[in-house]
Subunit: 353 residues, 2 copies
DNA sequence: ATCGTTACCGGGAACGATTGCGTAAATAAA
DNA sequence: TTTATTTACGCAATCGTTCCCGGTAACGAT
C-alpha cells in the first residue's frame, strides 16, 4: 500500500499549464499573471498540495534534517537536550533523526555511518564514554560535515561546542561537601579520557587541594560504561567502602552514575548522608523525591540543546566555510538537598580549623 | 559549506563507462562482465561510494523513514518504547523521526502535518490526552498511510494496535489494594475519553465491584493534561483529601500521574502508605528508590515498540492493501513495593466505620 | 553466407521540483 | 509603421539513481 500525493505535474495537467508555470505560481513569481496564480493557488489549496521534500532535497542537495547522537534518550539530561534541539530544528523546518550509542564506540560508529549515509545536513553529538578514536569524526568534519559537540566534547576537532562549566561545577559541589564537614571525598566518574571526566575531576581535585585535603587517587573510580551496567558502579562503590581510607562522601560525574551509585548504596544498606554523603550531576526531577533527596548539579539541558542547534544551523546555512568557532560555556545549578546535609560530628573538626 | 559525495556519474566518468553500467555493476546484475564489475566495485570501495538515499527515495517513491508521535520522550515508558521502535527500524534500514505532542492536540496536529509533509512511509502514534477529533488521522489512514497505534489507541480507526491488558492491569492493582486492607480507593486518570483511561478505569471499577466496594464517582479524578502540569494533579489530590469520603489509597493510570501524585502527596506531608496507599502505572526505574518505594504496574515498553514497528513494516512493505488487522495485547507486570503495604491499623478503622 | 543467440554495454526517460533561457503576443516608444 | 520593451508562459536541463529499450559484437548453427 502506498501513500500517493499530488504533484506539480498533476496540477499542470489538470489546469492545462506547464509545470514551470505551476511551480512559479506557487512560489509567487512576478512573471506569472495574477489570474493564473489565483487559479493554481486555489487548485493547490483545494487538493492540499504539498511540495515533495525529497524532490526538493535532491535538487537543493540538502535534506533539511540533522542527526543527533547521544548515549541514550532514556536519560533526563539527554531527553531534555533533545527537547531543546527539536524546538529549534522544527522551528526552522528541519527534522531531527536521533540515534543512541548506548555508551558503545561500535554502536556510535554504526550510527555515524548510518546517519551520514542518510545524508544529514549536520550533526550534534555527545560522544560515548568508550570513544577514544576520533578519526572518523575528524574525517567527516574535514570533508565538510557541520558538527556541533555538546556535553562530551572532542578537543581535537575544531568546531562549535556547548558545555557547562564542568570544572567550576565539580569544584563548587566538592567545596560544599568540605564545608559540610566531609573529609574523605571520593569520586566516581566516566572513562578518564572523556572531556567531562577530565574537567570535572580537575575541579574536584582543585577543590580538595584548596581546602587542604590531599587528593587520594584510590578514591577516584572510573566506570567505563558510564553506569550503563549497574555492576561496574557496584564494583566502584565496593572498592571504595572496602578501602582503608573509606570515604565519607562521593561525587558522581554523570546522571547515570548518580542514580546508579545511590541505588547501590541503598541496596548495600549504607545510609545517606549519615554514613556517606552523595552529590552528583543529574537532571532527573525524581532525585528530589528520593530518600534522602539528592543534592545535584543540574545542567541547563534544554538551553544547551537550543544553543547547539542554533550554532549548527548557522554552520549549515553559512554561504562560505566557517573558520571561527566558539565554545559556549553555560553555568550549572547546584541544588542542595538532603544527601549532603551538614555532618553533626563536626565540633572537633571545626575546632581544628 | 556543503558535504559533497561521490555519485554514480563520477564513477562512470572516471572509468569511462555509462551510468547504467555502473549502476548495474554495483547491483551485481548478470548482464555485466565480471571484469567490469570488479573494476567498478573496487573503485566504489576505494572512494567509499554510498548511493544517495534521497535519489533512491525519489525513484522508489518511499523515504524509508517512519514517524513516531508520543506525548514526550522524557518519560520512561515512551523512551523505552522508542528504544524498541528504533531497534527494529534501524535493523531494517529505516530511520525514525520522533515528534512530541506534549499532550496537546494542536501540537499533535502540527507534528502530524509536518511528518506527513516530510513524506514518511508510516506512522506509530500514541495520541495525546487532549485528542478527541480523529478526523485527520482517519483521513490519513484512508488515503493509504500505514499507521500503528500503541498505548493510547483509537478505536474508530481500523489498523494494527499494541497495548497491554489495561483492564486486567488496573483490576489486579486495585484488587491488591483491597486485599491489603484499603477500603476507599480513589483513581486519578487522564481524560475520560482516552482509551487507556476507559479501560483502566473499567478494571478499577470492576475490581471494587467484585470486592463489594461501591464505586464512588467523587473519588475518580481526571487530569486533562495528563499530568504535564503539576497543578492539575495537585488539584485532583486536594479535592480527594478534602472530600468527606477521603480515600485511603490512590490508583494512578499513567507514568506522569504516578510520580506527580507522589510528589504532591509528599509536598503536602501526607505519608505513604500510612495515610495514603499509592499504586500506579510507571516504567521509571527510579520508583524503586523512592521513599517508600512505589508499587507500580510496569508495561513491557521495549517489546511494545518492537511489535508496533514490526507490524508497521509489514503494512509498509505489503504488496497489496492489508485488510486484516490485529490488536496485540501484552501482559503488564505488577511490582509490589512499599507504597501499598498491608494496613496494620485496620481493626479500629473498621470499627469506626 | 545468413540467421539466431548470447553477452555486454549505452542512451535516455523517468521520479518531483526549480530555474535559466527562449519566445510569442501585447503594449509602448520611436 | 517599425522597433523596443514588457508580460506571461513553455522548454529543457538539473539533482542521483534505476531500468526499459535498444544496439553491437562474437559465436555457433544452418
Amino acid at each position: 500500500m502506498r501513500f500517493e500525493a499530488l504533484t506539480i505535474k498533476d496540477i499542470a495537467k489538470a489546469l492545462g499549464l506547464s509545470t514551470s508555470t505551476v511551480s512559479r505560481a506557487l512560489r509567487d513569481s512576478y512573471e506569472i499573471s495574477p489570474e493564473t496564480k489565483k487559479l493554481v493557488l486555489e487548485y493547490a489549496e483545494k487538493n492540499n498540495y504539498h511540495p515533495n521534500p525529497i524532490a526538493l532535497s535532491l535538487k537543493e542537495r540538502r535534506s533539511r534534517s540533522i542527526g543527533v547522537i547521544v548515549c541514550e534518550i532514556a536519560n533526563s539530561f539527554f531527553s531534555q537536550t533533545i527537547n531543546g534541539i527539536e524546538s529549534i530544528a522544527y522551528h526552522n523546518g528541519y527534522n531531527v533523526i536521533i540515534a543512541q550509542s548506548r555508551e558503545s564506540f561500535d554502536r556510535e560508529m554504526i550510527n555515524l555511518q548510518y546517519l551520514t549515509s542518510r545524508s544529514i545536513d549536520g550533526l550534534i553529538i555527545s560522544v560515548s564514554t568508550e570513544t577514544r578514536d576520533f578519526s572518523f569524526l575528524k574525517e567527516l568534519h574535514e570533508r565538510g560535515m557541520p558538527i556541533v559537540f555538546f556535553d562530551r566534547i572532542v578537543d581535537e576537532i575544531e568546531t562549535h561546542k556547548v558545555i557547562v562549566d564542568n570544572y567550576k561545577s565539580a569544584y563548587d559541589a566538592t567545596s560544599q561537601l568540605v564545608k559540610n564537614g566531609y573529609q574523605r571525598i571520593a569520586a566516581i566518574s566516566n572513562a578518564a579520557y572523556l572531556s567531562i571526566s577530565k574537567d570535572r575531576l580537575a575541579g574536584y581535585r582543585a577543590a580538595l587541594d584548596n581546602n587542604g585535603i590531599p587528593v587520594n587517587e584510590n578514591l577516584i573510580k572510573h566506570c567505563h560504561h558510564g553506569g550503563m551496567l549497574l555492576e561496574e558502579v557496584e564494583q566502584a562503590v565496593n572498592e571504595l567502602v572496602k578501602a582503608p581510607e573509606k570515604p565519607d562522601a562521593i561525587l558522581t560525574t554523570s546522571d547515570k552514575l548518580t542514580t546508579g551509585c545511590f541505588r547501590v548504596l541503598k541496596s548495600k544498606g549504607i545510609s545517606v548522608p549519615a554514613e556517606m554523603g552523595l552529590v552528583g550531576f543529574s537532571n532527573s526531577d525524581l532525585t528530589e523525591l528520593l530518600d534522602p533527596p539528592l543534592t545535584i548539579i543540574k545542567q541547563p539541558a534544554f538551553e544547551m540543546g537550543e544553543i547547539a542547534t542554533t550554532l549548527l544551523l548557522q554552520l549549515i546555512e553559512s554561504k562560505r566555510p566557517v573558520k571561527e568557532f566558539e565554545t559556549r560555556v553555560l553555568a550549572s545549578e547546584l541544588i542542595t538537598r538532603g544527601s549532603t546535609i551538614a555532618k553533626k560530628t563536626e565540633p572537633q573538626k571545626l575546632a581544628s580549623l
